[in-house]
Symmetry: C2
Subunit: 201 residues, 2 copies
């Protein structure tokens, strides 16, 4: 903490001025981005991120809740699994498939959220380091969590995710017709039974 | 384009020497790459490719069969739909889903074929021109052809393709477990019923 204040002080802001919450937040995110890139998701602990940002770990908790929250913000990951999954699970069990389709359409239909998602996928397709980072995050924060929340087998959850990722690529990236113009209801009718089977059998 | 031809001539082949079949083939492919990039798949006719390569259209037919064949070679597209689809359709109708899973696993499991596929997808994710090129090709050569060959609705075919594309991304690019280590039989049991439903209902 004190180090950070001195650092900030020497970089030409008024002497003695304490960094505001926005600056501290940004400093944590910058440190997190570096650490995630260097050590991967599993390798970068919240404590190490706090140390690199020269802040107290309690402050990281205060701003972002947990490591997942830091990652989501730092990598501009467009969905927070700890919000998304409870939302899907709030649907009745016989409508899980539908809930998952609706959620994907909502996230991917929004260009501001689609762009960072595509950027991460693109990096993962080129770069083993980026692939490992995304793999670790998705495995622990998304699939691991989903396994705990449902009775679905891990393979079933991943098949369901694969269905939606591929469908979103064809609909929003390649914009293949008639998929690109299909209504939400058509898509639910088309793939919700598939997801329902994956998530409940 | 004429610049490139003169360039080739001046780069030390003997004057008056006629290009051999390999050179002619490469010349057609280079012209095709330029034209596909410039005009898209639909906009680049076989005749125009021949003209740009300064060869007789019959020669393009001779080397590549049709425009689809030129595209597959020029873009190093790792599958030729005119070979792939008849192969899938040669399975009994109640095993179409299984045939499609097997075919995807075979193509994506081979790193030499996966790499160019990923390269095209990656470009399409960044570049609208590349997306249009892939969209047009996939629409006419793959989905259009599949619609003719099966009774499946276009949306069903695209949902099936989406399932496999997303699954392949998770298995081979992100290498998420347990999907990455699942056996062929496990994957067939997992997703063949899905594809079967898409392709036959």
């Amino acid at each position: 903490m004190s180090g950070s204040r001195e650092g900030a002080g020497t970089r030409g802001r008024g002497p003695g001025r304490r960094p505001g919450p926005t600056e501290t937040r940004e400093k944590i995110l910058a440190a997190a981005r570096d650490l995630f890139a260097e050590k991967g998701y599993d390798g970068a602990s919240l404590r190490a991120i706090a140390r690199a940002a020269e802040v107290d770990p309690a402050l990281v908790h205060h701003f972002f809740g947990n490591k997942e929250g830091v990652f989501v913000e730092a990598m501009r990951f467009p969905v927070d699994p700890s919000v998304l999954l409870p939302h899907i699970m709030s649907f009745p069990p016989d409508r899980l498939g539908e809930a998952m389709v609706r959620t994907f359409l909502q996230v991917w239909g929004d260009e501001d959220r689609r762009a960072p998602m595509l950027a991460m996928l693109r990096s993962a397709m080129t770069n083993e380091r980026a692939a490992a980072l995304l793999r670790e995050f998705v495995t622990s924060a998304l699939f691991g969590r989903a396994s705990q929340a449902t009775e679905a087998a891990p393979l079933g959850i991943q098949a369901a995710a694969g269905q939606m990722i591929g469908l979103m690529m064809l609909r929003y990236v390649l914009r293949i017709e008639p998929l690109a113009s299909a209504s939400e209801d058509e898509l639910i009718e088309l793939v919700a039974p598939t997801l329902q089977r994956y998530l409940t059998s």
